[in-house]
């Protein structure tokens, strides 16, 4: 297993392995460390711009660059090497042809100690900002049964090629014009977006991981894996949409999450927590399961409206704007959609402004009541069967 992780952990080695296993890969180039010059330029000229520079040990878009012009190539490679060295302790990078207007669709796979490998369907992860996934869904609106079947088989073949055991993800990019798919990389871990697969299939992936760690065989076969409905996940980032999405830090004065059938929240964030500069800005994941895609989108909007984080700016208003966008509604999002269509998006300036002013004034009026009436309000609460959640008071 350590060996499969090593082999798939290096994106460059993984590509070679996949080619050997008959899994299609994007045309690529592996520059030597240091002293790179003419070779990479020749390759890029032949392949055609734009090209993508990626960290071999990478993930999450760190160290990744799209290069549009030959004169930006070397600078982009050097910048990507620096970022990769910093983020992963490994400056190795490689280049790929950049497929414009592509979809990012990945398959959840699972292998056990007996060599039994299955997939648990796909996740569409095309909705990305700065190469960072922000919304994932399953099933993919692009796939039909035939393409899903072929990609599923390729994913299983990819995992088998490295004797993969436990939960992994095979990432593909799909050209929606040709419906060709290419192996991108394998993530040898449980991914951020695994909740939507769990919602869709009803299978607890972490439970399967624990069983696999005990070398127990998978308790079911490929044919037993079924799916129901449509699941969506939104990643909540501490990023300020009004400040060019730069990281937001500070004290969380209030954190409230939605509670409803078919809604799932993965977060450790609580009222009073401090968000520091040292970690990734993702602070929560909100997922929903709907009857169909339209229902899931509606539920997700509801869930985001009821995800209330005050004191630190988040990308929630942006996520809701993406969900409402016709391109998303039609299931036609490609990986360049956000930059292309929503690059100029700004949070609405007067969204809820008068109502917020009313709420603020009312809260001041009620806070200014005497201690006696404040006590009366708490007493009322204690007897209200509809108010069963804990009552917290920010700042005492």
């Amino acid at each position: 297993m350590g060996d499969s992780i090593r082999r798939m952990g290096s994106k460059t080695q993984a590509r070679a392995l996949m080619q050997a296993a008959g899994v299609p890969v994007v045309p690529g180039y592996h520059p030597r460390l240091g002293g790179e010059g003419q070779g990479v330029r020749d390759w890029a000229d032949q392949t055609g711009y734009p090209v993508l520079v990626k960290a071999a040990a990478g993930g999450g878009g760190k160290g990744m660059r799209i290069v549009h012009q030959p004169d930006q190539l070397i600078e982009a490679i050097e910048a990507a090497q620096r970022e990769a060295a910093k983020a992963f302790g490994d400056a190795t990078i490689f280049l790929e042809k950049y497929i414009e207007g592509a979809r990012h669709i990945e398959f959840q796979v699972f292998g056990d100690a007996t060599g039994h490998v299955i997939h648990l369907f796909e996740r569409e992860c095309s909705t990305q900002r700065r190469h960072q996934k922000i919304i994932e869904e399953t099933p993919s609106p692009l796939l039909d049964d035939d393409l899903r079947e072929r990609m599923g088989q390729a994913a299983v073949a990819a995992a088998r090629a490295v004797d993969y055991q436990n939960a992994g993800t095979i990432e593909f990019i799909v050209d929606p014009k040709t419906r060709e798919f290419y192996f991108l990389e394998m993530n040898t871990r449980l991914q951020v977006e695994h909740p939507i697969t769990e919602l869709l299939t009803g299978i607890d992936l972490v439970n399967l991981q624990l069983r696999a760690a005990q070398r127990q065989p998978l308790p079911f076969a490929q044919a037993d894996v079924s799916r129901r409905g449509h699941a969506i996940e939104c990643r909540i980032y501490a990023e300020d949409p009004a400040n060019n999405f730069l990281p937001a830090i500070g004290k969380v004065l209030l954190a409230q999450f939605p509670v409803a059938p078919g809604a799932r929240v993965d977060s450790g964030l609580e009222t009073g927590d401090e968000i520091p500069i040292h970690y990734d800005p993702m602070i929560a994941k909100v997922s929903v399961l709907g009857e169909d895609r339209a229902d899931a989108i509606r539920k997700m909007d509801w869930a985001l409206r009821h995800t209330i984080i005050l004191g630190v700016a988040t990308n929630i208003p942006f996520l809701r704007a993406v969900l409402a966008h016709p391109v998303f509604q039609h299931g036609e999002v490609t990986t360049d959609f956000i930059e292309r269509e929503m690059g100029a998006w700004r949070p609405p300036i007067d969204g809820g402004r008068d109502l917020a002013l009313i709420a603020a004034a009312l809260s001041e009026v009620t806070i200014q009541r005497t201690g006696e009436s404040a006590n009366r309000m708490i007493a009322e609460t204690a007897y209200d069967p509809w108010q069963v959640t804990d009552r917290f008071r920010a700042g005492g």
Partner: protein, 164 residues
């Protein structure tokens, strides 16, 4: 009658609040709302306007009141009469941090001549780097931060003169 003042963005807004008969008459600029308070237990405030019930969460950090309402977050600041803007003088600019973070690299020193667009400093937060570039050609009057220093959003980083 109670008046409250808030700063929304750059605008200072006065909210007049007149209680009476279990309701509140709330005036914002020339708009008058007839508001019925449903309940208020901090941080929650629920009220009815024009037949629609709204649930808001209101919290405060001493200088800013954050209101979550109908999926929006609105920041209402206490108006600060001393807020002096445009304090630039003598053709000098100070570049400020566009995000909170750590000064990963300070690339210039006092007295350095810089070109427009030259990277002066690299700021890092949440594993992300951003470059602070010179908005115009000039000379570094003073570096106000050290490499490795953690800075707040808006903190001044470098003083830059227009003179070459």
């Amino acid at each position: 009658m109670m008046d409250f003042q808030y700063q929304v963005g750059t605008e200072v807004v006065t909210v007049k609040c007149e209680p009476g008969g279990g309701r509140y008459r709330i005036t914002i600029a020339d708009r008058v709302y007839d508001v019925q308070l449903d309940h208020a237990h901090s941080p929650e405030v629920a009220f009815i306007v024009d037949g629609t019930r709204h649930l808001a969460q209101v919290v405060d950090d001493g200088t800013t009141r954050y209101v979550g309402i109908d999926g929006h977050v609105v920041e209402l600041k206490k108006p600060d009469p001393r807020r002096a803007r445009n304090k630039r003088h003598h053709g000098e600019d100070s570049l400020s941090a566009s995000m909170p973070g750590q000064v990963a690299k300070l690339l210039v020193g006092e007295g350095d001549a810089v070109e427009r667009g030259q990277t002066l400093l690299i700021l890092e937060a949440m594993k992300m780097e951003i470059k602070i570039a010179a908005p115009h050609a000039g000379r570094v009057v003073k570096a106000l931060v050290r490499q490795g220093q953690v800075v707040d959003r808006g903190q001044e980083l470098i003083e830059l003169s227009h003179e070459p």
